[in-house]
Amino acid sequence: MNSKNPMVGVGLRSTHYPELETGRETKVDWFEAISENYMNTEGRPLKMLLQVRQDYPMALHGVGLSIASHDGVSPIYLNKLKTLIERVDPVLVSDHFCWSSRGGHYSHDLLPFPFNLETLNTICQNVEEVQNFLGRQICLENISYYLKSQNDEMSESQLINEVCRRTGCGLLLDLNNVDVNAKNHGFQAIDFIKEIDFNRVKQIHLAGPSQEDGFIFDTHSTPVPDSVWELYRQFSDLKKDVPVIVEWDENIPSFEVLEDEVEKARQIVMAMELHL
């Protein structure tokens, strides 16, 4: 990655395969693929991923590692992830600060956990196991959550900072999730950002939420809202040169619309550079 011009990219989605297959030039510097969409297939999805990888740097972003699982991380899952990593040679490998499975049952969701010492120890143990097995650093993303545990002993940012410090893993800072949580749980998003150890941030996610009954949901279904762009500006004041991905997962628009979002992010990066 060019350290002077951080890469701005988008999530790779099957909706855009036909367009990407044409090999046309894009305004995108890099892509991020959802790991699970390619771990169990030898078919067209994998072929497309490898084709796009020939032209662009690629990150692998998982939703099923279940790093906070009390059961530990599934060895079957890890083996498949390692095989995919060997095929794709990604620039970053990430998943989420969450759990999603237990006892062989899968929720297919990013579930929150108690912010306490027991969870902290469990996550650290699991991260170390994963990083040792994969032989590389992973990054974990802060999630949006719609409830919390009564057994919290620390703040979310304290837990994240401590996991990163103890294990050496990176933080994938999802600014939309910070914004969603701030609005739903009633805190200042910028306070959270100032609390996290921004030197651990290896990547940023931008996305647009939806609203229902006065609450905000992390649906990745709309353009990045002004509040998230503002958070991105504020974060860029604290730390520069962090690669960015714009995510869009529902009501996915044309690739050109995503490119417009990429250009907006690039403008912010360039403005920060001029400001220096």
């Binding site: 169990n40 078919g43 699982s69 579930l111 956990f113 108690p114 306490n116 027991e118 969870t119 545990s149």
Partner: protein
């Protein structure tokens, strides 16, 4: 950081209760969580419960799009929700969900109205498996090599599935993006024998005669020609030398048998 009292097993309890709530097994989780702002805890927990159901129903719909098309929205959604409620996900891969859906449909009342519906969904599962399977190139006609080694064992290529049904499932499936009235033009109860395979990146279908499908089935485990013919005759009756030759000529050109090492 507050006083970090180690609450042993609080994480396991949280996860057991949370997942049980999502799966609709029990409600204990509601006593352990706090909600967003003024909302009741149940409303917040139900966001996850609804999300789980919606994701699995959507994933089933992607795998079983023709089944959905035939059933219509109301019946499909009702059956899919019943299936999700009775069948938890056992794989990290969402697209792996729903293998048991054809059997679920077979035991549902809808079969009395649409007798082919379970078969149609079984076909869609076959298609999904082949879609995600590796591409296997056509093999040369094995007959040319048999004269050098008549005892050579042959087997069906991977990424190949032999499909048989008492209904015209493939014909129905091909209409899935069109008007449901198209079903009126199909002889639904015409038995179907098809070679389904992955070739050049696409899932391809070749219609077969029943005897061709039966003979190909003998190569699902590695066998020599003589062993396959003996096995066939044992199951389906005597074949004349002429019909053996005719059958092998026809399946030879399909390019789906390879030498088994």
């Amino acid at each position: 950081m507050k006083d970090a009292t180690l609450k042993n097993e609080s994480l396991e309890k949280w996860q057991v209760h949370f997942l049980s709530y999502i799966l609709g097994i029990e409600q204990n989780f509601l006593n352990e969580a706090t909600s967003m702002n003024e909302l009741p805890v149940r409303s917040c927990a139900d966001i996850y419960k609804r999300g789980y159901k919606a994701r699995l129903v959507e994933s089933l719909g992607e795998t079983y799009s023709a089944t959905w098309w035939v059933l219509g929205d109301d019946d499909y959604l009702k059956l899919a929700e019943e299936f999700v409620a009775s069948t938890p996900s056992r794989s990290f891969d969402l697209s792996d969900y729903g293998k048991e859906f054809p059997d679920f449909l077979k035991s549902s009342v809808v079969v009395s109205e649409i007798p082919f519906i379970s078969e149609l969904s079984r076909f869609e599962w076959v298609f999904k498996i082949l879609f995600h399977s590796a591409d296997v190139p056509n093999k040369e006609n094995f007959l040319s090599r048999l004269s050098q080694n008549p005892e050579m064992k042959l087997r069906l290529l991977p990424s190949t599935i032999l499909w048989r049904s008492n209904f015209s499932i493939y014909e129905i499936w091909k209409q899935r993006d069109g008007d449901i009235a198209a079903l009126n033009d199909i002889d639904l109860e015409l038995p179907e024998f098809i070679l389904c395979r992955k070739l050049e990146g696409k899932v391809r279908m070749n219609y077969l005669e029943e005897s061709e499908l039966r003979l190909l089935q003998q190569f699902e485990t590695p066998r020599s020609i003589d062993e396959a013919v003996a096995s066939y005759q044992n199951l389906y009756g005597e074949l004349t030398p002429e019909s053996v030759q005719s059958l092998f000529s026809r399946i030879g050109v399909l390019g789906v048998l390879e030498g088994a090492i």
